[in-house]
Amino acid sequence: MEKKEIIIEVENLVKKFGQFVANDNLTFKVFKGEIFGFLGANGAGKTTAIRILSGLLEPTSGKISVAGYNAYSQRDLIKANIGYMSQKFSLYDDLTVRENIRFFGGIYGLYGKILKARIDELLSDLKMTEFKDDLISSLPLGWKQRLSFSIAMIHKPVIIFLDEPTGGVDPITRRSFWEMIHSVANQGTTVFVTTHYMDEAEYCDRVTIMVDGRIEALDSPANLKKTFNANSMDEVFVMLARKAKSA
């Protein structure tokens, strides 16, 4: 892999909730344009980390820079350059597809002709043009998730954070979801994704495996399998997770 531009840099990130240490001294770098996976069991600290990076949570300590901006003092600048999709569906159920897109586009500062063009573009990319006036609540879950993803991308961010984006959807929808991820990555967007599906780890350029708030391994899937002498990421993960106190 050729030398790439660093887009996220984290040094000694610590996040405590009272006594509980959710993120214990995380240090890693993410390069521009790669798909960076965060793997771990529930409660391993993935969501905490992704929420800190996207500016939803204050870190306890550590040096963090996202898209070239400081995570303490330049949070709004970070937010203008990233997209975020939460594991909990968070579009407005009582608004239509088009109204949701329009609203978030407006919040990100798009307006007038540009906004209109972007809405049409998104709708046709999603093949949802004919459903644009349907309420979100009437859509199947897979569609909702793809829509959430597109809306997180509405302002063409440099980095997109996806927190367990494929939770609860069927394998076919998951497959098409990953196609969307690859296509934005090919256009140069950095993708930061958390998941607990080990097969999805194979789709990532590099993965980090988190156990009990710590980073246990960080490398490309192929290298990880080699290092741990395993056939699949699943095996790698099971080996590492055995060390967990909570498992």
């Binding site: 996207s54 500016g55 939803l56 949570l57 204050e58 949070r75 709004d76 600048l77 937010k79 203008a80 990233i82 997209g83 975020y84 939460s86 909990k88 569906f89 968070s90 579009l91 407005y92 159920d93 009582d94 608004l95 109204e99 329009r102 609203f103 978030f104 407006g106 919040i107 990100y108 500062g109 307006y111 809306i151």
Partner: protein
Amino acid sequence: MRAILFIIQKEFLQIFRNKTMLPIIFLLPIIQLLILANAATFEMKNINISVVDYDNSRISREVISHFDASTFFTIIPTEQSVEKALELVHSNRTDLVMVIPNGFEKDIDNSIAPKVQLLVNSINGMGASLAYAYSSSILMNFTKNIAIKKLNVNIQTPPTISTQTSYWYNPELKYSHFMVPGILVILVTIIGMFLTALNLVREKELGTIEQINVTPIKRYQFIIGKLVPFWIIAMFELAFGLLVGKLLFDIPINGSLTLLFSFAGVFLVLALGGGLLLSSISSSQQQVMFVAFFFMIVFVLMSGIFTSTESMPNWAQIFNRINPLYYFMKVIRMVLVKGANLSDIRESFISVSILAVTMLSFAIFRYKKTS
């Protein structure tokens, strides 16, 4: 700034799409106004009286007929026994028992002050004192006239002071002129404040607020975008309520409506800002509602909706300086009924403006995009 407009537009879409909330927002308050303004009255219209007449003379019957003729009293027949009449009080069928003892007529003939006993159900202290006042004035007038007629002497009249009382602004002492603006204040505040407070915390509960928090929107833009839609609804509600009040209760509108609405505008920033502050420090709708409800009850009761604030104890008057409803209650009545102008309500206007600015800044400050 454009982001604010997008939030406002979104809120309106959501409000008008919710078919259950629409009638609650626009219809329920008006129905309430209609019913409650009629219910809230202290005017005594009817006092039930039972008379136990032991004298059973011409004069005693004449006394009773005076009560019968009065519009205040309805005579409830009773057996000739005090115990039986008291039974009627027990079972709430009569409010007042008048006992005319034996020798009533004889006393009058002999120019001795005749005796009458009144037994008043005084669970409602205020009603009881009114019932007593009305009945004793009938009795006094009756015996005075008899005495004057009987004596037919022109005794040296003592000097008197004649008082002429006039009731300004509301010469017929219509209670609805007092209550309709008061109830309107409560309804507008409830609708505006609760809708705002619940709206923000609902987004928290449903998780949609995350998607907004991750955008570069400024805190003040978000708070103002949330406030404006409900501000407009509350202002509309006030206008609608005033119209209903004017058409159905004929409430006076003597002052400038521009002045009233300017004041209401500032007041609503305060009330709605309070709602937003509350919701940004709460985690569930249940919590918000409960706290809001508590403050609402305290503020309403202290605001002088039923009673004069000047007669309240000192600590209550000091408290009222930070009670938004106290100011609005006072100003709406002053402007509508008395035609007060800006200089009459200047102090209230300044106080509410200061409170509003403080509250709004606090709401913006307390709203955190990170947790």
